[in-house]
Homo-oligomer: 355 residues x 2
């Protein structure tokens, strides 16, 4: 039994691995592999349509939302979005809450004016910036809902009047939210949605209308929407894995059900870490991510020992990102509570031994 705490690509439900494995040999009893079916066949159209329907159902999207699957990851949206909405005389507002937000800002500046309304760079992005004003002429307000690297998460949706844009790569489908408040949501699939190599984009029809029509075809949101994610050959297998993962989530009871489990996982882990002073939690309680828990130890020797213990117990992906150090435990939807409790047992054992 391996406990996979990878930050992404990350664990997916075992039933998804099993079904995907079967489909690579024989998809839906067609005698064909999912890898060799034509994308413009009813076989794949059904996959795509069901995946889109499940996203709408699970996120309770209203009739104004379009759902598309695009090539690439969130990094592509970092420039595709401003390429579509900004010009040198237009301004967008960005919240600089972590490494990914910073990258998004860098790309947006190529296309228009960027107002960084707040940043937590002063403390290595270990908290969520608060109390900022957003210029009302902003074409949109962009933020990252969950900062995978720094272990912070925004637990409420900013009450703003301009179109809201969110990079939800690392916490989409993990908690209930009024997703209809957003004009544009994007998320690389490789955490809560499926396998690496596809990007989920949800776009409000009114916001879509305002997108540029003079960008390259592959960057044109309107063309992707009107072609139903088939402007070119889509990443067939990656979309199929999304479908399997979405089906699993629905069967489990949907977003509300997984949120309860995610809350349990985060609570037991953070509570345990707090009870042992050898562990430090750099993120203040109110900003802690339920997807990625970041913690450190002051003693580097102990950090090494802890990592060794994790390796012995088949716990992978626990090492922190190089920019933060220490440890990062990712607890995406598919990570079972039992993996967290196993880690918690190890933490208790370790904490008692080196208290």
């Amino acid at each position: 039994m391996i406990h996979n705490f990878n930050a992404g690509p990350s664990i997916l439900p075992s039933s998804v691995f099993e079904e995907a494995s079967r489909a690579v040999l024989n998809f839906n009893n067609t005698g064909l592999s999912i890898l060799e079916i034509g994308h413009r066949t009813p076989l794949f159209e059904e996959v795509l349509n069901e995946a889109v329907s499940l996203v709408k159902e699970l996120m309770q999207l209203d009739a104004n939302k379009e759902v598309i699957f695009l090539h690439g990851g969130a990094s592509t949206q970092f420039f595709q979005l401003p390429m579509n909405y900004l010009t040198k005389d237009k301004k967008a507002a960005y919240l600089d809450g972590g490494v990914w937000g910073t990258k998004a800002i860098k790309e947006a500046k190529r296309y228009g004016q960027v107002d960084v309304v707040a940043t937590s760079k002063d403390k290595n992005y270990s908290y969520i910036p608060k109390d900022y004003a957003v210029p009302h002429e902003s074409v949109y307000f962009h933020y990252t809902t969950n900062n995978t690297i720094e272990g912070t998460q925004m637990h409420s949706i900013p009450a703003l009047s301009m179109p809201l844009v969110a990079d939800m790569s690392s916490d989409i489908l993990s908690r209930e939210m009024d997703f209809n408040k957003f004009s544009f949501i994007y998320a690389g699939a490789q955490k809560n949605i499926g396998a690496a190599g596809v990007n989920l984009v949800i776009i409000d029809k009114k916001f879509l209308e305002k997108s540029s029509s003079s960008v390259p075809s592959m960057m044109d949101y309107k063309q992707h929407v009107s072609n139903g994610s088939m402007l070119n050959t889509p990443p067939v297998f990656a979309i199929y894995v999304c479908l399997l993962t979405l089906r699993w989530l629905k069967q489990l009871g949907g977003v509300a059900a997984i949120e309860k489990i995610n809350n349990q996982k985060a609570a037991v882990l953070y509570d345990t870490l707090e009870s042992f002073p050898i562990f430090q939690l750099p993120v203040p309680k109110e900003d802690r991510s339920k997807m990625n828990a970041v913690f450190t130890m002051q003693n580097e020797m102990l950090e090494k020992k802890f990592l060794d213990r994790c390796n012995e117990e088949n716990m992978v992906g626990v090492k922190g990102h190089r920019s933060v150090g220490g440890f990062r435990v990712s607890m995406y939807n598919a990570l079972p509570l039992s993996s967290v409790t196993s880690l918690v047992d190890l933490i208790k054992d370790f904490g008692n031994k080196y208290a």
Copy 2:
């Protein structure tokens, strides 16, 4: 037994399906799925490194060539290439040999001057344009080596002095060529290289130096090269399927060995079609593609009957592209000669019956 003549996504070797299926459950006996391994781990780095090495070996690339795997398909390169190399005062030359070339031209015009040196549009792209002059100030000369939809293929490399750029999506690795003559080669994977959702790019170091440094990061070839295809999370599974397919090709004897088989497949199919006057071959002999054979019948009733026969015999993907009509038989590397001989038997039977 299904005979898969799909134009792409298309058949891959059965051993690739089997190994990929196993890896989705348990990759290299790690106990982890290929879908859940971190991309910045030695596990995936080995996959990527071996895939790059095999491309270099199989294509006999010299030390001046960089090999990268990018998100998306050839359609992304249609704009990424001119975005990097053209400005309003620079000119590139394009050969307009088919639907894909036309799309590439459309995107290039957004960035600079485009000289369409020749076109076969007058005859629905059913032949390869010849005898054209390319302005020597062209930043590059772009052409499509094989026209998937129209069933034409360029059987020699143009002798030109400016950098050669080729879209080899549908015939890469199918025949021996001096690939080192090209400054830039790109190919969507879903025909001869692997599964949909990844793009192979081969770029000469000198040409790379001339690429723009003011494009978005994800469009920056230099950044992709210096980050070894890991500027962002790569499409892990799609690259793994490429590796398996490349290994299969090497084991088979490489490009020279597959070329012999491809020649046999094309010869037996075209010879048979030519021997029955009920079939028309729109492409003149010298321009016929060894990957995609296009043919029609004058009698629409017969076309329907022929397609029914193919369906009865479990031959899929035989219907022609909507822009050409009739039939298209794709014979990529992984299609066994036995599938072609089965189709040839059907053609003979049909041809004799309706002569």
